[in-house]
Point group: C2
């Protein structure tokens, strides 16, 4: 008997059949005597339909009105899931984000959670009811409906779990858990039974699409362990939690691949710190994340910079850098083509300096070159040619024997 | 320059084109310098889609959850209309029923309005904004989303008009206004420039589908004059307001037709007042409206009752009456077939007793018989055979010269 918060994404509640499947899962856990809070997303497709309708009326619709519009998606789902639970004899009631006390700032379409009161959820749980909460939405300090942006329903689940002091938070999604590598690339990739918040964060920023960083950051900040698992089977997933050094700590937890990076070359800028700072400050202010930077000397007191950005941010990057270059009076910016980023992540590498050596040996043996490299305490990432990306992931997975559990020595 | 409340129904906002049409109308009135509050319904079809989805999960879904579900329809529309107004340069903001301070009791799916605060509508109007309010929904005293039932958006508009002390309330619908008779039956039916609340109420309860009685009752109670007009053209509609005796008062304002009545025969009940009262009390408690009652003596101290009910209420009527008959120990109930109800309505008839004579002469001349008759101060209704209904309406319309304005003598 535990207090469990579960979250089901849009594909898990896409239609009547799937809603019945989710209701049956909830019932099974509820029948064990657990108290249950269930956070749900909009049915998959609904949010896009609403956006399409809005854009047909206005190419740049107001953020506040978009929140009013998009919040209906989850409100529909909470009612339907409650109605489905009633049909199989489970007492349930729905709560909008506002009713569940998801209080946010006023940044419409990307609101941040300020506080979660939980509303009357504890009372309803004590009555034996399953409480169905609308994900993705909240109530701003100006008493307006807000939405939390991408990954918002995961964030709702973790925030509600923190507020009600849940014993367990389960994020049901369309993958089984967190793998040592993408199983579509590495056939013997292994599902991790558990992973540290820091590792999950590095994986999220390295191309893993399991969860958005902000939800993991929130979980880490409030120390909410959560399990990522599939709503389409009953296999245990991956538990994401604070790092605790145990016998099972692996040197490396996983290999991530991000195929959609663009290599940006900025040539012929003044070779001084102020010029470089001006460029990266402007990119930072524009919210553009830059990775894997190299600076090298060019001719006649000028320098060249190379770095990578997400490909879908290249156009804005080019514009921002171009403006700075005009103010500096020299230099040019261009794309040097697409690259893929291969990252290895693991808290075990902190105290094991040999990791980089193993990585580059494996890449060399596989005939993969890389000049752009970036590291953090628990991550090493390299840029490789897109057509070498899969081979690089396989070689690294093999070199670190990620298909087996290899304890830190 | 006036404060105008407008209401647009589901067909007027059914799709992107129609929403743009409504936005253009709102803009035209706003550009005249008017302050505007606009109440909108769910896009036509949306409410039925939501109901279908709920019923696929649960044949008798919970009322509270149905309100949570159905309220999304109007919430979608208010956002879309606001977004459409922004696109044509009109400052607008949407308000849910709760935000507009539509406070109701806790009778989910058929909540009654207890009070309307208007929320921050006056402040937003003073900022020059058009305020778009979700019809059909409110917030209960238990802080839950409620819906107002059939005709709920009209009711919202009239209640908001009362709260903000509007100069004018316009109910845009798919008809041009209130006619002396259904123009599909009577080719020279005339649109009434104005009509008294009482007449509108009698017409609503006599088969006219222009508006639900409850909205008219609310308008009468708070003395909110409103205009019924079409959103598909620019013709003036019909103004519904308190009765004031003027030169233009007509003897009869209109002829209404209700085709869907069933004649109910209850035979062989004890011939005493208690038995008759028991039957009508039970029907009243079950919310079943009975019209045009005849009682006549049968054999051996027993009596027979005949009355009419809406055909879609016949099954329930039969059940309720059957139960009472079992407790009385005698009698039987059956349908005596469908009838059509033809009603003439007019405040002018109060002081003109010759009206009934004109009516029956006209019916007789047209070969239409009737035995069931009911009257009020401003209405006379007769039941006729369904295949004679159109002829009866035409004959009566002609007899009272409703195609012309005939002042009360």
């Amino acid at each position: 008997m535990a207090l469990i918060v579960q979250k089901y994404g849009g594909t898990s509640v896409a239609n009547v059949d799937r809603i019945q499947n989710v209701a049956a899962r909830i019932k099974a856990d509820w029948q064990q005597g657990n108290k249950m809070v269930v956070v749900v997303s909009a049915r998959s497709g609904v949010t896009n339909e609403l956006i399409t309708r809005a854009k047909a009326l206005n190419t740049s619709p107001d953020d506040r009105e978009m929140d009013m519009l998009l919040a209906v998606g989850e409100q529909e789902t909470i009612a339907l899931v409650s109605i489905a639970l009633h049909a199989i004899g489970v007492p349930a009631c729905s709560r909008t984000g506002a009713q569940a006390g998801i209080l946010t700032d006023t940044l419409h379409t990307r609101a941040r959670i300020a506080r979660v009161t939980g509303g009357d959820i504890p009372e309803r749980l004590n009555e034996g009811k399953v409480v169905i909460v609308a994900g993705f939405q909240g109530l701003s300090s100006a008493n307006e409906i807000t939405t939390l942006g991408r990954g918002g329903s995961d964030l709702t689940a973790i925030a509600v779990a923190a507020a009600v002091k849940a014993d367990l938070c389960q994020i049901y999604t369309d993958v089984d858990g967190v793998y040592t590598a993408d199983p579509r690339i590495v056939v013997n990739a292994r599902k991790l039974p558990e992973i540290a918040y820091e590792e999950m964060l590095e994986l999220a920023s390295s191309g893993s699409k399991v969860m958005q960083s902000r939800s993991v950051e929130f979980a880490q900040k409030y120390n909410v362990p959560f399990e990522v698992r599939s709503s389409f089977n009953n296999k245990p997933g991956t538990l994401v939690k604070a790092h605790a050094k145990t016998m099972e700590d692996a040197l490396i937890s996983g290999v991530a691949l991000d195929r959609s990076q663009t290599r940006v070359t900025v040539s012929n800028i003044p070779d001084n710190a102020a010029a470089v700072a001006a460029i990266f400050d402007a990119l930072g202010e524009a919210g553009l994340s830059v990775d894997m930077i190299i600076k090298n000397l060019g001719t006649a007191g000028h320098a060249n910079l190379t770095f990578s950005v997400n490909s879908d941010q290249f156009a804005r990057t080019e514009k921002v850098v171009g403006e700075i270059l005009r103010s500096l009076g020299s230099g040019s910016v261009r794309s040097a083509g697409e690259v893929a980023k291969v990252s290895i992540v693991g808290v075990g590498m902190i105290s094991h300096p040999g990791v980089a050596g193993t990585l580059f040996k494996a890449l060399a043996a596989a005939g993969v070159n890389s000049d752009l490299i970036t590291t953090s305490e628990i991550k090493i990432a390299v840029a490789v040619a897109p057509d070498k990306a899969d081979a690089a992931v396989r070689a690294v997975h093999e070199a670190f024997q990620l298909h087996e559990i290899v304890p830190v020595g």
